[in-house]
Amino acid sequence: MMNLAWVVPLFPLGSFILLLLFGRRWKQASAYVGIAATFLSLLLALAVLVDRLGGSTYEANWTWMTIGGVTLTVGISATALNVWMLVVVALVSWLVHVYSQGYMAGDERFSTFYAYLGLFTFAMLGLVLSPNLLQAYIFWELVGLGSFLLIGFYFYKEEAKAAAKKAFIMTRIGDVGFFIGMMLLFWQTHSFDYDDIFRAVGDGTLSPGMTTLAAILIFIGAIGKSGQFPLHTWLPDAMEGPTPVSALIHAATMVAAGVYLVAALFPLYEASHAAMMTVATIGGVTAIFAATIGLVQTDIKRVLAYSTVSQLGYMMLALGAGSYVAAIFHLTTHAFFKALLFLAAGSVIHAVRTQNIEEMGGLWRRLPWTAPLFLIGALSISGVPLFAGFFSKDEILAAAWTNGPRLLFWLAVAAALLTSFYMFRLFFLVFAGKARHHEDAHEAPASMVAPMLVLGVLSIASGYMQTPWFGSFLGEWLTDGAYRHEAAPGWIVVVATIVSFAGIFLAWLMYGAQKMPRDWLSARVPYVDELLRRHYYIDDIYRLTVVSLVSWISRLLAYVDRFLVEGLARLAAGIVGAAASAGSRGQNGQAQTYGAVTVAGLAILVVIFALTGGYWL
C-alpha cells in the first residue's frame, strides 16, 4: 500500500475540483463528497501507516522542472514522521468534515466551504509527504491559501476580510524567510532534497555559519505559520473563520506545520547550536507570552487561539531542546485535544449564538455531550495525569530540563500553570454558574457530537503511545529504535502535576466557587491587566513601526514617482521643447544663413573624418 501514498492527497483535491465545478448544483449534498474523499484518504493513510509499522519505506520522485542540468522533482517520501503526520491530518480533517455538515448546515456557500476544506486538506497532506524543501514550500503556501480562503469565508464581514488579509500577509513574511533560507541551502548544496541537505550538513559542505543562517531563516517561516512570537498576531484574528476551520487549520494541522517543518529538517538544526537555541527561546517565550494573554480574553475562540499559540511554543521549545519526539508527541496530542476543544466551542457557539464568555454560563446541563467532552479536552491540555496532554507535556518539560537552559524550563512550568488556569476559567465561565438567558440552547446534532466523541477518546488514549510506564512506542518508531528516554529527574512529573492542579484550583476559586474576586488582578495591577487585554500592544507596535514605515516609504516613493521621475521626464521634454523653439527662431528665412550653417556642419564632419581616418569606436 505504501507505493499508493501519493494518492492520499488526491482524494481531497478531487473533492475540491468537483465541488468547485458542480457544488452549486449539489448544495447540501456537497458534504458527502468531501466526507467521502477525506474518509478514503484516511483509510489509505492508515494502510500506509500499517505498512510503515511493518518496517517498509518508500520514496518516489517525478520531474517537475529541469533547469539546465539540474532537475527539480516533486515526490513523496514515506518516512515515519511523514506517515504519522499523514494519519493525524487525514483523521482530524475527516472528523472536521463530518462535524461541519451540522455546523455549516444552511449556509449559502455550503459547497464552497467544503471545496475550500478539500483544498486545504490536499495541501496539508501534500506538505507532510514532501521529500524536498521546494515541494514543502509549495504546499506550505497552499495551506496558507486554504487558511486564507477559509478565514475570509464570511467575506461580507469587514473583520473577516481584515483577518484573512492579515493571516496571509503575516505568514507571507515568514514564508519569505523560508524562501530565502531554502534558496541559500540550494546555493550551497545544489539540491532541495532533505537527504542531500543532511548529507551536506554531515560532511561539512555546508559551513556552520551558513547552516545557522539557513536554519534560522527557515525557522522564520515556521514562526509565521505556527504563530510564534513575534508573528503570532494573525492567529487570534483568524478566529473570524468558521469554527470547524479554526479546529482543523488553526489548531490541529496547519499551525503545527511549522513544528513539522523544523522536525523534518531536524538534522540541519541539530548541527547548529545557535539555531537550536533560537528555536527553544522563541518557543519558550511564546509559550508564556501567549498564555498570559489568554488569561484575560473574553472571546471563547480567542482564548483557545492564544492557548494554541502557547502550546505551539511548547512544541518549539521541545524541538529547540533537542527532543524531536516530544515535539511530535505533543503535536499529536495537541491536535486531538485542541481540535476537540474547538469543536466543543463550536458546539457552544452553535447553541448560544455568541462567542463572548461573559454572556455564557450554566451550560453544563443544556449541553450534556459537549460539556463533558470540553472538560476532557481542558483536563488534557492542562496536563492532568492520565490524560494525553499530561504525558506529552511531561516529555517536553523533561527535555527542557535536561538539554535546555534552566530559565526556559521554568518559563514552561509557569506557562503550564497559566494554561490550566485559563482553560478552567473558560470552563467555569461557560459551563458552571447560573444560566444566563439561553433557554433555547440545545445540544448539537449527532454529526457534530460524533466527531467530538472520537476526539475525546483520542485526547485520552493518544497519551499512552509514549509514557514513562508503558514504554516509548512512538519515540522508538519515529527514530527507528534509536530513541532513549531522557533521564529526567522524577520530581518534574510531580511539579507538573502540582502546577496543573494549582491552576485548576485557582480558576475554581475565582470563577467556580467565586471565593476570590474576579478583578483580583486588574484591581491590583491595572496596567498589567490593560497590557494583557491589549495583547501587549503588539498590533499597535506593528502599526506604528513596520506598517507606518512601509507606508511612509511608499508615500515618499509616490512623491518621487510623481515629481522626480515624472519631473525628469518633463524636464527632458521641456529641454527638447526649448531647443525646438530656439531652433525655430533660428529659422530666420535667410537662405544664406542656412547655407553657411550647412557648410559649417559639412566642414566639421570633413575635418573629423580627415583627422580620424573615418572610424572611431
Binding site: T63, W64, M65, T66, I67, G68, G69, V70, Y137, I138, F139, E141, L142, L145, G152, F155, Y156, E158, A160, K161, A164, K165, F168, I169, R172, I173, D175, V176, F179, I180, M183, L184, F186, W187, V550, S551, I553, S554, R555, L557, A558, Y559, D561, R562, V565, E566, L568, A569, A573, Y615, L617
Partner: protein, 535 residues
C-alpha cells in the same frame, strides 16, 4: 517552406476581409475579427506540438533576398544584403504561442468595445502581425520593422479607443518607445555597417568566432561592443520598462482599452525581455557579464519600487500597472543572474506575467463594463453579486502575488533561484518584494470583492470613504469608463466572457503545476546561451 510567413501574416486575411464589411455590422466584425486570430493560433500550437515531438525548428527557416545595399568588389558576396529571413527556436516559439493565445482571447474580450469596431479590429490584427513577426524574425532589420508595426498599431489603439486621457497616454507611449526604438536602430545600423549582415546567426558567428573576425568590414573593439550592448540594454529597458522609464506604462495601462492592455502587458512588454535575452545574452555574452550586476540591481529596484507604489494606489488599473513594473523587475533579476536558472526564470516570468496580466485586464474590462469604475474606494463586496467574477479576480490576485501552483510562482522562483547563486544578498533584498506583492494584490482585490457590498449606482455616483488624506497624494483618479456607459444591472461573468477567463486560468494553473511543459522547449536554447557565456 512558407510556414512561418503563413503564421505571421495569416491575420492579413482577416484584415482584407474586414475591409469589405460594413462599419455598422458589429456582430459580423466581432465574429470575423475573432476568427482571424484563429489561424495563427492553430499554426502556432501545431508548431509547438510538433517541436515537442522532436521536430527540428530550424527546418522552418525562410530566407529570400530583399534589399542589396551595396555591391562593392572588396566585400564578400553576402555583405550588406538584407534578406527577408524568418526563423524560430524554442525561445521564439514559446512567445509566439503566448502571442497567438492572448490575441485570440483579447479578440474575444473585445466584444465590450463598442465604438468604431471595424477600425479597432483592423489595428488589433495589425498589432498581432507585428508581435508574431517580432518573435519570428531572424534578422535585425525585420525585427525592427515588425517592432515598429506594433508601435504604430498600439499608438492608434490607445489614442483612439482609450480612456479620458487617451491622447496623452498614446503620445507618452509613442515618445518613450520611439526613443527606445531610435536607440535600437542606431545599434542595428552600427552592427550592420561593421559586419555587413543583420542575420542573427551570422552576427553571432562573426562576433564570436575569432576566425570570422577577419570578415568584419571594420573591427569592433571590446569597448565598442560594450557600448553597443549598453545601447541595446537601454533601448529595451525603456520598453520593458525599468524604473525610471516606467511612467508611460502606467498611463497606457490606465488609459488603453482593457483588451488591448491584455496584449500590451501580456506580449508587448515581453518583447523587451525577449530582446535582452536574444540580443544581449545571445550576441554579446562576454560583455553581458559586466552588465549583469547593474541589471540585477535594477531588477531589485524595479521589484521593490513597483510593489511599494502599488501599495498606495486606490485604482485597480494603477495597482496592476505598478505590479507590472514590479514583475518586470523579476525578469531583470533573472537576466542579471546570468545563469541557466536565471535566464530560464526570466523567460518563465515573461510568459507567466503575460498570462496573469491578460487575465487581470480581462477582468478589469468586465468590471469597467459592469460597474463603470475601477476605483477601489467605490467598490466592495462584489462576491455577493458576482461570485464567479470575484473567484477569477481572486485567482488573478493570487497568481500575481506568486502563489505556488500558479504560473507566477514558477517565474519568480526560478529567477530568484538564479540570482541566489550569484548575488545572494541582493536576492534576499529582492525577495522582500514577495511580501509587498501579497499586500498590494490582496489589499486591492479584497477591497473589491470582500466587505460591504455596494450597488452599482453607489459606485457610479461616486461614493467615497471620508479618507481624503490617503487619496490626495495619489494621482488624480480617473474612472476611465472608456468602454461606454455601464449597461443593465450587475450581472456575473457571462458564458462568453467566462471562456477566455477560464482558458487563462487553466493555462496559469497548467504552467504553475507542471512547468516542465514550458521548460522542455527552452532547454536547448538556454543551453546554447550558456555555452556562449562560457559555462
Amino acid at each position: 517552406m512558407m510556414f512561418l510567413s503563413l503564421l505571421v501574416f495569416s491575420p492579413l486575411l482577416g484584415i482584407v476581409l474586414l475591409m469589405f464589411v460594413r462599419k455598422t455590422d458589429e456582430r459580423m466584425i466581432q465574429w470575423l475579427g475573432t476568427a482571424a486570430t484563429v489561424p495563427p493560433l492553430i499554426l502556432a500550437l501545431f508548431a509547438f506540438i510538433q517541436s515537442g515531438r522532436g521536430f527540428r525548428l530550424e527546418r522552418l527557416d525562410e530566407a529570400r533576398d530583399w534589399v542589396r545595399l551595396a555591391d562593392l568588389p572588396f566585400l564578400t558576396d553576402a555583405a550588406y544584403v538584407i534578406r527577408y529571413e524568418l526563423g524560430i527556436d524554442g525561445l521564439s516559439l514559446v512567445f509566439i504561442v503566448l502571442t497567438a493565445v492572448l490575441a485570440t482571447l483579447a479578440a474575444l474580450a473585445s466584444m465590450l468595445v463598442k465604438t468604431e469596431k471595424k477600425g479597432y479590429f483592423l489595428w488589433l490584427l495589425a498589432l498581432e502581425i507585428g508581435m508574431l513577426g517580432v518573435f519570428s524574425a531572424a534578422n535585425f532589420v525585420w525585427f525592427f520593422l515588425f517592432l515598429e508595426v506594433t508601435l504604430v498599431a498600439m499608438f492608434l489603439l490607445v489614442g483612439k479607443w482609450g480612456g479620458f486621457e487617451r491622447e496623452r497616454a498614446a503620445y507618452s507611449y509613442l515618445l518613450y518607445n520611439g526613443l527606445g526604438s531610435a536607440l535600437l536602430l542606431v545599434v542595428i545600423a552600427v552592427l550592420l555597417a561593421r559586419t555587413g549582415t543583420a542575420n542573427f546567426a551570422l552576427l553571432h558567428e562573426m562576433l564570436h568566432n575569432p576566425a570570422a573576425e577577419g570578415q568584419l568590414i571594420a573591427p569592433l573593439t571590446e569597448e565598442g561592443r560594450r557600448w553597443l550592448l549598453g545601447g541595446l540594454l537601454l533601448a529595451f529597458a525603456v520598453k520593458l520598462p525599468a524604473v525610471p522609464f516606467h511612467r508611460w506604462l502606467i498611463r497606457v495601462h490606465v488609459e488603453a482599452p482593457p483588451p488591448v492592455v491584455m496584449l500590451h502587458a501580456g506580449v508587448l512588454l515581453k518583447i523587451a525581455a525577449y530582446g535582452m535575452i536574444r540580443f544581449g545574452v545571445g550576441l554579446f555574452p562576454d560583455e553581458f557579464r559586466s552588465f549583469a550586476g547593474v541589471l540585477a540591481l535594477f531588477g531589485v529596484i524595479n521589484v521593490l519600487y513597483g510593489a511599494l507604489l502599488a501599495l498606495r494606489q486606490r485604482e485597480l488599473k494603477r495597482v496592476l500597472a505598478y505590479s507590472s513594473v514590479s514583475h518586470m523587475g523579476v525578469v531583470l533579476i533573472g537576466l542579471g543572474a546570468l545563469n541557466e536558472a536565471g535566464i530560464q526564470g526570466a523567460i518563465f516570468q515573461s510568459v507567466a506575467h503575460g498570462l496573469i496580466s491578460a487575465l487581470s485586464f480581462l477582468l478589469v474590462g468586465v468590471l469597467t463594463h459592469r460597474m463603470g469604475t475601477t476605483d477601489i474606494n467605490r467598490l466592495g463586496g462584489l462576491t455577493k453579486a458576482m461570485p464567479l467574477f470575484s473567484g477569477y479576480l481572486l485567482t488573478a490576485a493570487l497568481a500575481l502575488l506568486g502563489l505556488p501552483g500558479l504560473a507566477g510562482f514558477v517565474g519568480e522562483f526560478t529567477s530568484f533561484l538564479g540570482l541566489f547563486q550569484t548575488k545572494p544578498a541582493l536576492a534576499a533584498v529582492g525577495a522582500l518584494g514577495l511580501i509587498f506583492a501579497a499586500v498590494y494584490s490582496l489589499k486591492a482585490v479584497l477591497d473589491i470583492t470582500f466587505g460591504r457590498p455596494r450597488d452599482r449606482q453607489e459606485a457610479v455616483m461616486g461614493w467615497r470613504e471620508p479618507q481624503a488624506s490617503a487619496v490626495s497624494i495619489c494621482e488624480p483618479q480617473t474612472s476611465g469608463a472608456s468602454l461606454g456607459e455601464p449597461q443593465g444591472g450587475v450581472v456575473d461573468l457571462q458564458g462568453k466572457e467566462a471562456v477566455p477567463a477560464f482558458i487563462l486560468v487553466a493555462l496559469i494553473v497548467a504552467v504553475g503545476v507542471y512547468p516542465q511543459l514550458l521548460a522542455a522547449p527552452l532547454t536547448a536554447v538556454v543551453e546554447t546561451m550558456m555555452n556562449g557565456l562560457g559555462g
